[in-house]
Amino acid sequence: MNWLAIYRALLVLYPADFRDRFGKEMELVFGEALSQAQRAGRAPAFLISVCTDLAKSALREHAAAFRAGTFCAGLAVLASGLLLGWADSQGGEVQGSVLVLVVCCGLVGLIWRKGAASFAVLFALGIPLFNIRSGHASVGDLLFFVIALFAVAIGSGVRTLLSGPFGITVAIAMGLALGAIDMVVATPVIAIAGAFLGGIAFGRWRPKPLKVAALFGFFEPVGVIVMMAMGMHAARHHFVFIDARSILIAMVGAAIGARFSEISGIASPTPEAA
C-alpha cells in the first residue's frame, strides 16, 4: 500500500496556509520516518501514532488559524454560520439541510483559506442550536459537524487542484454547471450569488483574475443555452430576456467578486500564482 500517497491526501485536513508552507516537508519527514519504522519492524505502531498526531495537530492548527483571523473575519464567520444554520433549520427536512450544508461549506472551503473549517463548525452548530429551541433536536444533529467538515475538506481539496493549470477549464465548466442549475431552479439569485462567489474563487489567479472571472460569468448563461438546446429548459419563452440579462448579471457579478477578492485579501494567491 502506498502510505505516502495516503498521507499526502490526508494533509488536506490541515488549514491551507499551513499545508502550503509545510506540507511538502511533512511528506518528506513522514516518508523518512516510515522507512525507518519499516526497517525496525514497527510500521503499524508508527502509522497509528501518525494518525493520532494528524487528528490532534490538524484540530490545533485550525484553532490557531481561527484565532489568527481578524476580528471582522471571526464575526463574519459567527454571524453567517449561525444565520445559515438558522435558515437551514427552518426548512425542517433533513435532506434539504444536508444539501444546503454541503453546498455552503463546500463553497466556503473552496474560497476561504483561513476560516473555512470554523465556518463549517459554526454553521453545523447553528442547526442543532435552533432545533433545540424549536424542540426538534436529536443526536443525529451531531452528524452535521462531520458532514460540514467533510464538505470543507472537499472544497479545500478542489481549491488546491484549481490552483494548477486546469483553472480556466474548471472556470468554464463551473460556469456551465451553474447555468444548468440556474435552468433547474430558474432563479436569478443563483446566477448572481454563483457569479459573485465564482468571481471571488477565480479572482485569486493572478495576474489576470478578471479575465478568468469573466469566463466564468460568460459561460454561466451559455450553460442555460446548452440545456435549453437539449430541450431541458424550464422557461423556453423567456430565453431571450433571461439570458441577455443573465450574461450581464453573471459577468458583472463575477467581475465584482474578483475585485472583491483582490481588495479584501480573503482569497490570497497561492504560492504558485504569486
Binding site: 499551513f18 518528506l28 519527514v29 513522514f30 498526531d53 494528524l54
Partner: protein, 120 residues
C-alpha cells in the same frame, strides 16, 4: 526581554529547542534528535513537529536556513527543493536557557531532592 516571566514551555517546544541547541537540523533530524534525547519517551509526529516549528518561527525563536553544510542528502534534487533547515536564534537560546534554569531551580527544592534521593 525578560525570559523568566515566560510561562513554562510545552514539552514539544522545549525538546525542539533543545534539539536545535546542538546546531541546525532539518525536520526529520529534529524528530530523531528528540527521540534520542528523551530515550524514545517523546516521539513527535510530523503534524506536531511542524506546528511547533511554525510557532517557533513566528516567535523568532528559530530561523530557517537554506541547507546545512556537509549534509549528504542535500545532493538529491528532491531534497534540495523541499528540505529546509532550522536553527536556534539568539532569543530562542535565551528562552531555552531560562527554561533550563527554571527546571534546575525546581530540582533544587528540598522536597524534590528528597524524592530524587529516595528514588536513588
Amino acid at each position: 526581554m525578560n525570559n523568566t516571566k515566560l510561562p513554562p514551555l510545552t514539552e514539544a517546544t522545549f525538546h525542539v529547542l533543545l534539539a536545535l541547541s546542538e546546531g541546525e537540523k532539518h525536520g526529520y533530524g529534529i524528530m530523531v534528535e528528540v527521540a534520542t534525547q528523551t530515550q524514545g519517551m517523546v516521539n513527535l509526529g510530523p503534524g506536531t513537529l511542524y506546528g511547533c516549528l511554525k510557532r517557533l518561527l513566528e516567535a523568532k525563536w528559530i530561523s530557517e536556513t537554506e541547507h546545512a553544510a556537509g549534509d549528504q542528502d542535500v545532493k538529491s534534487p528532491v531534497f534540495e527543493e523541499r528540505r529546509r533547515y532550522y536553527r536556534l536564534s539568539g532569543e530562542g537560546a535565551d528562552v531555552l536557557k531560562a527554561e533550563l534554569e527554571r527546571i534546575q531551580a525546581i530540582t533544587r527544592l528540598p522536597n524534590v531532592q528528597r524524592i530524587l534521593g529516595g528514588q536513588s
